[in-house]
């Protein structure tokens, strides 16, 4: 698949995964890829604490106002912007928009907000997603200054499910009022693969693989969202190291001490063992979850800057190129005759073509 087509599947991509899997890194790489395809990308940070700015050398903390993290590199490339959108930000804007500016302070300071948020769980999430929906609409309408692709760095771990399922939960709890209407609109956006898709990120290890499988089924079945291929992050690049270092040294006509031979051998054994383990895990993931996988390399660094994000965007681009082309999605009526029943939104929404079945129950 062409990376441009990948970035054009939906205006909103939500990147989700458990803590420590590199969700924010993948968010940044995805934004970089979108910019390369000529799209202005807006990264949305809903927790207000991410290190995204640092990655791009933007040292001030992100705020509610959009900041440009990376300028456009020319006429064919877009820029990368970022902003926060925390529940508090969203609530304040909601109240102001609805002519309730005066009670907003009191709602927070009196603690009544906590009470309301507990009585109607998910209300804060709905306010955030409601605002995201506004941005998505502005993007579709091509409003001045609106981004072409929104990349949302979702809350970590179990919060991601609660966050994305908030619309359904709220529709059950709140029977009337503007918040209910907002939840309905959010649900409509989340369940339309032409508007929004979720990219899950995991690591090639036992526990993260189990969790991503569980999350994927829950998100599709209970939150009704559509999943892109799943990103497996931090894979050791595979090298053939099954070589005796002493033999290799002789072949290269290089003298090595016994200690050096031993170090090379132990390091190679370790790497091969990890490579084997990660293959086991990606195979297991493929068995348990019928979604394509996008593999990103481990970068052997603790630092993460623009250069590393470029490398990951390269890898993402190469992986996306391997994906089959998408079946046409949400066709306008005149073009609809071409699309068979099997190519409709459900399968295409899974991100890897019409022959991709819906996930079966995990074994």
């Amino acid at each position: 698949m062409d990376p441009g087509a990948f970035c054009a599947q939906a205006r909103l991509l939500i990147v989700a995964g458990k803590g420590g899997v590199g969700k924010t890194t993948v968010t940044a790489a995805l934004a970089r890829l979108a910019a390369r395809t000529g799209r202005d990308a807006l990264i949305i940070d809903v927790e207000g604490k991410s290190g995204l700015g640092n990655i791009f050398g933007h040292l001030e903390p992100l705020t509610y106002q959009e900041a440009v993290l990376a300028e456009s590199g020319g006429p064919d490339s877009g820029e990368i912007r970022a902003r926060t959108l925390t529940p508090d930000d969203a609530l304040l804007e909601y109240l102001v928009d609805h002519g309730m500016n005066r009670i907003s302070k009191r709602l927070a300071s009196s603690g009544a907000l906590d009470v309301v948020a507990t009585a109607a769980p998910g209300i804060k999430d709905i306010l955030v997603l409601g605002k995201v929906k506004q941005l998505e609409r502005a993007s579709v309408a091509g409003a001045p200054g609106a981004a072409d692709l929104l990349v949302l760095d979702a809350p970590a771990a179990g919060h991601a499910f609660t966050f994305l399922a908030s619309a359904r939960a709220l529709l059950d709890a709140v029977t009337v009022g503007p918040i209910r209407a907002q939840a309905a609109e959010v649900l409509e956006m989340l369940s339309d693969p032409g508007r929004c898709q979720v990219m899950l990120v995991t690591l090639p290890e036992e526990t993260p693989v189990n969790e991503v499988v569980e999350t994927a089924f829950k998100l599709e079945d209970q939150a009704g969202v559509h999943l892109t291929p799943v990103v497996v992050n931090g894979l050791y690049p595979v090298h053939d190291l099954d070589i005796d270092p002493a033999v290799a040294a002789t072949a290269a006509r290089v003298p090595l001490t016994e200690a050096e031979v031993a170090s090379l051998r132990r390091a190679a054994t370790f790497r091969m063992h990890r490579q084997e383990l990660q293959t086991d895990q990606t195979d297991r993931l493929a068995q348990a979850l019928p979604l394509s996988q996008l593999h990103l390399p481990f970068l052997f660094t603790t630092e993460l800057g623009a250069a590393e994000i470029d490398l990951l965007a390269d890898a993402l681009e190469a992986e996306i190129a391997k994906l089959p082309d998408l079946a046409p999605l949400n066709l306008p009526e005149d073009a609809g005759a071409e699309a068979g029943a099997g190519a409709e939104s459900e399968a295409a929404g899974a991100g890897s073509g019409a022959d991709n079945p819906q996930p079966a129950e995990p074994g």
Partner: protein
């Protein structure tokens, strides 16, 4: 807190303390560390209980935690007499229910609260509740006196502040002035609730619906009279955390975000006069020895005959490079928690999901093996 003369070892902590709290950000191996410390506690002859929050499935199975009973279950093993190992997976809702039962004046009051719509949402929706209930469970277990050592795994808190702030957060919630005013006896209500408050709640009802406001008012009516008991209990729980029987152990991984959060956590604990007594660093890349200075010129490395050796050297260089960078990264954290000992656990060649695996991690934690 007084300055310590010498650092304590992890072994001394699990031999001498009653409570060990493992804290740190998500995905750093807190649950594994807590499980491994508990296994070692039992091995050293202590009656030990580990309280976990959300263990990975296979680890939960290994610890016999497949069912949520909210009561400790016993794990058989080769423990030194009179050592025992018990494990419990926290059920936030049941813990809260028990607490309501304890402080309700009558069984009817408890029933009324437990069936309230808002109450049923608290466990899942009010942030800080899970953190507080973990502490509450710890307090209960400590109070019962059946264990010599309780090791607690803390929830993967979004914000480290939530953890120590959780008890106060809950009591603040229960003390909510606006809603409590509404449930005062009628005559006082008439006098005290201003027009402003009523107008305010009407506005809230307009936004979220009147059901939500009614649920809240009903809840505070049912809860009337119990806040004092809850507040005192929360204070006792907090006090227990700062007593010398309790040790805080910080768990980190050598990743930028995890180190930054650990630094923040350490300073936050210090502000509350709680010292980090040990730092566990998980998943460090192991060291394999110096990279031989061969094939240093690009031409030499590019020669076809040298390709296999170049791959081997490249691999060692990758691994040594990342290990060195991780070590450098750790320095600021090590300084911040000094003189607390830093215990290293290497990236193992398999995931830890059974008692044997915990035992292996335990050997590193106790310094029987070098990480």
């Amino acid at each position: 807190m007084t300055d310590r003369e010498t650092a304590t070892t992890l072994r001394e902590l699990i031999e001498e303390r009653t409570i060990v709290v493992c804290c740190g950000s998500g995905g750093v191996g807190k649950t594994t560390a807590a499980g491994a410390l508990a296994v070692e506690g039992a091995r050293l002859g202590r009656r030990t209980c580990v309280v976990t929050i959300d263990p990975a499935k296979r680890l939960a199975d290994a610890l016999g935690l497949e069912s949520l009973t909210n009561e400790p279950g016993r794990i058989e093993g080769d423990w030194e007499e009179p050592g025992e190992l018990w494990a419990l997976m926290l059920d936030t809702k049941t813990t809260f229910d028990d607490l309501v039962g304890r402080y309700a004046a009558t069984p009817e009051q408890a029933t009324l609260i437990l069936s309230n719509h808002l109450y049923r949402n608290i466990a899942g929706a009010l942030s800080g509740t899970q953190e507080y209930m973990a502490m509450e469970k710890l307090f209960e277990l400590h109070d019962e006196g059946r264990f010599d050592l309780i090791v607690v795994d803390t929830p993967p808190t979004r914000n480290a502040l939530d953890f120590l702030d959780a008890p106060r957060r809950l009591t603040r919630f229960l003390d909510n002035r606006i809603f409590r005013l509404l449930v005062m006896p009628t005559r006082t209500y008439m006098r005290m609730v201003g027009v402003a408050t009523q107008a305010f709640l009407r506005t809230v009802a307009k936004v979220v619906g009147s059901d939500v406001v009614k649920d809240a008012v009903d809840f505070f009516a049912a809860f009337e009279g119990m806040e004092q008991g809850f507040r005192e209990r929360a204070q006792k729980v907090l006090d227990l955390l700062s007593e010398p029987v309790t040790a805080f152990v910080l768990v980190a991984a050598p990743r930028r975000d995890a180190i930054e959060e650990a630094l923040f956590f350490a300073s936050r604990l210090q502000e509350s006069d709680i010292e980090v007594e040990a730092l566990i660093v998980n998943r460090l890349h192991p060291r394999f020895g110096q990279v031989p200075s061969v094939l240093t010129s690009p031409e030499a490395a590019a020669a076809p005959a040298a390709a296999p050796l170049a791959a081997l050297v490249g691999n060692l260089r990758d691994l040594e490079g990342i290990a060195e960078r991780e070590e450098r990264y750790l320095k600021s954290l090590t300084r911040q928690v000094a003189p607390a000992p830093v215990v290293r656990v290497p990236l193992l060649d398999h995931d830890v999901h059974d008692l044997n695996g915990l035992g292996q991690v335990g050997r590193y934690l106790l310094g029987l093996e070098e990480g």
